[in-house]
Amino acid sequence: MKKDLKEFKTFPSSTIKEIQRAAKEGIYQIRGLGAKRKVPDFDDLVFLGASMSRYPLEGYREKCNTSVILGDRFAKNPIKLDIPITIAGMSFGALGANAKEALGRGASAMGTSTTTGDGGMTKEERGSSKYLVYQLLPSRYGMNPDDLRKADAIEIVVGQGAKPGGGGMLLGQKINKRVAGMRTLPEGIDQRSACRHPDWTGPDDLEIKIQELREITNWEKPIYIKVGAARPYYDTTLAVKAGADVVVLDGMQGGTAATQDVFIEHVGIPTLGALRESVDALKELNMHRKVQLIVSGGIRTGADVAKAIAMGADAVSIGSAAMMALNCNADLYRKDYEKLGTEPGYCHHCHTGKCPVGVATQDPILEKRLNPIEGGKRLKNYLSTLTLELQTLARANGKSDVRNLEPEDLAALTVEAAAMARVPLAGTDWIPGLKK
């Protein structure tokens, strides 16, 4: 930009461009993945580490436990994961069968779980997943009692961080014969998954729904309730009241296969603030660590995992980052990115079905670009890296179990993060919003 030109703060060039696009097309933009705007996040926190008053563990020698048990409140068969990092629900339809298989392979190699999505359970993901969480969504596409019994846990999806209050959307270009068959709908039509469940409307009903699911599955499976980060204090309280074994909280940075851009960027609250509210609710109910809390939405590094656990989560879940481990947004097939009007590092065109790297597509030619075995190895390596980073930080804070990390180990770098995470601003004892 030329130095003597002054851009409108209210109308920067990107805004003008969007106004003119809207004026031309008359319709909102739909896209995939999560929020692109900057929000307070785990980067705004730091660990304090050990000091005179805190004794560290030897980084390479002393054990640091990463395992976690999920769902031991009511379920006969809770899940014991080797690492507290799970793979979030992503549908077959949004992702191709190779991607689903790769996720299963990578997660299983690390002793953790993967999750179905809005489209039912495929044999590839069940076959490749040691622990598979089966989602019960409003659409109930592909839902059946046999798959319910094959699952290791059941996740009732109330909302999603990218779009709390919104239903699913899978555009017609991704609906091939197999996807359509699993969803009992014609090929090539836009599939609008409902935003509300068809047979329950509130927490009192949900309690009864959970009872039904437990009756069908012999009270064996842990029942998760997934909520988007809208009113996490109340939603967590109501989920516990409804009888959840596990609460899954998805912050606004969480991704989606396809939703209106205005929804992704303007609905829901950041993971950082949502997590703290949810932990508050569990503690007030005396259910912290009894009902496990999985948090998702913008988890990228072992530091993010460690900070989430220190704030009170029992585990995290990754979606977008897992896709990136499979090569989403990798600098490959540049010409195909260009055809979509984007480039590696910026692509959010999951909704088109033309994923250049073969992850979010049903196109048989594009899908071949993702080998599920190699993809599984990359995901395993990524999960392994996150786990090592998590252990490194836990040991540095003197913890022999990652779940012993605590808010006291953290400081905030910004006033916003201090207020949201309710940890002191670094170098002070000030927590905005807390009376001394």
Binding site: L185, I189, D190, P198, E212, I216
Partner: protein, 226 residues
């Protein structure tokens, strides 16, 4: 065999019914004193017969496969929700979301059904001998909703490929739902359903409703329909 919910726990009874041995001759059961309990006969798997003597709560016969279940009373929300196959007969009335998301089998309601009957149905046949409430067959994907009485407002809103047959009056149709020609093929199909289920009705007296298929792909020209 009589199973008394005053004497046995729901879990005990459901577990027994979910695991009836094929080698045993006893494949007929009566449930006594249901007293509005929820999830009675949820998740049955095999071709057994169950007769429930009284009213049930939510999700009676949920996700049923193969079993024939008769309720001699009224049922709560979500009867036979997500049913895969088999037959469920309700002698009384049904609350909302009857047969929701059902994939197969037959649900026969001899009384009335409340709102959202057949919501998101995926292949089930639902026959309501009385009337249905508003938003019935909302986003219905496949199967037949057959109403011998009347239908309240917004019938078949955002319907996909399911078919609706109504003998009585329809208060209003929902978005993208239209009346369609009742041709010989439809009459034959509907009469076959009546015959198979031993219902004495004449398909010629019914009107057929289904999707105009205008909203299958989002177009800005259709935005006023939403």
């Amino acid at each position: 065999m009589n199973l008394d919910l005053n004497k046995k726990k729901l879990r005990e009874i459901n577990q027994l019914l979910q695991n009836v041995s094929r080698e045993k001759n006893n494949r007929s059961f009566q449930i006594l004193n249901p007293q509005g309990q929820h999830a009675i006969c949820a998740g049955l798997k095999d071709d057994i017969e169950v007769s429930i003597k009284g009213h049930t709560g939510y999700y009676c016969a949920g996700m049923n496969k193969n079993a024939s279940i008769t309720v001699h009373g009224n049922v709560g929300t979500g009867v036979a929700e997500n049913m895969m196959s088999g037959k469920v007969i309700i002698k009384g009335n049904a609350s909302q979301s009857a047969g929701a998301t059902g994939h197969g089998g037959s649900l026969i309601i001899e009384g009335d059904a409340s709102s959202r009957c057949g919501i998101s149905m995926k292949g089930i046949n639902i026959i309501v001998k009385g009337s249905v409430g508003h938003m019935s067959a909302f986003m219905a994907q496949k199967g037949n909703l057959i109403i011998l009485g009347d239908a309240d407002a917004d019938l078949g809103d955002s319907i996909y490929e399911a078919k609706i047959f109504v003998k009585g009056k329809v208060k209003s149709l929902g978005s993208d739902c239209i009346e369609k020609k009742m041709d010989d093929k439809n009459i034959k199909e509907l009469n076959k359903i009546f015959k198979d289920l031993n219902i004495s009705e004449d398909a010629k007296k019914f009107k057929r409703y289904g999707s105009a298929r205008n909203l299958y792909n989002f177009k800005i020209d259709n935005v006023s329909s939403y």
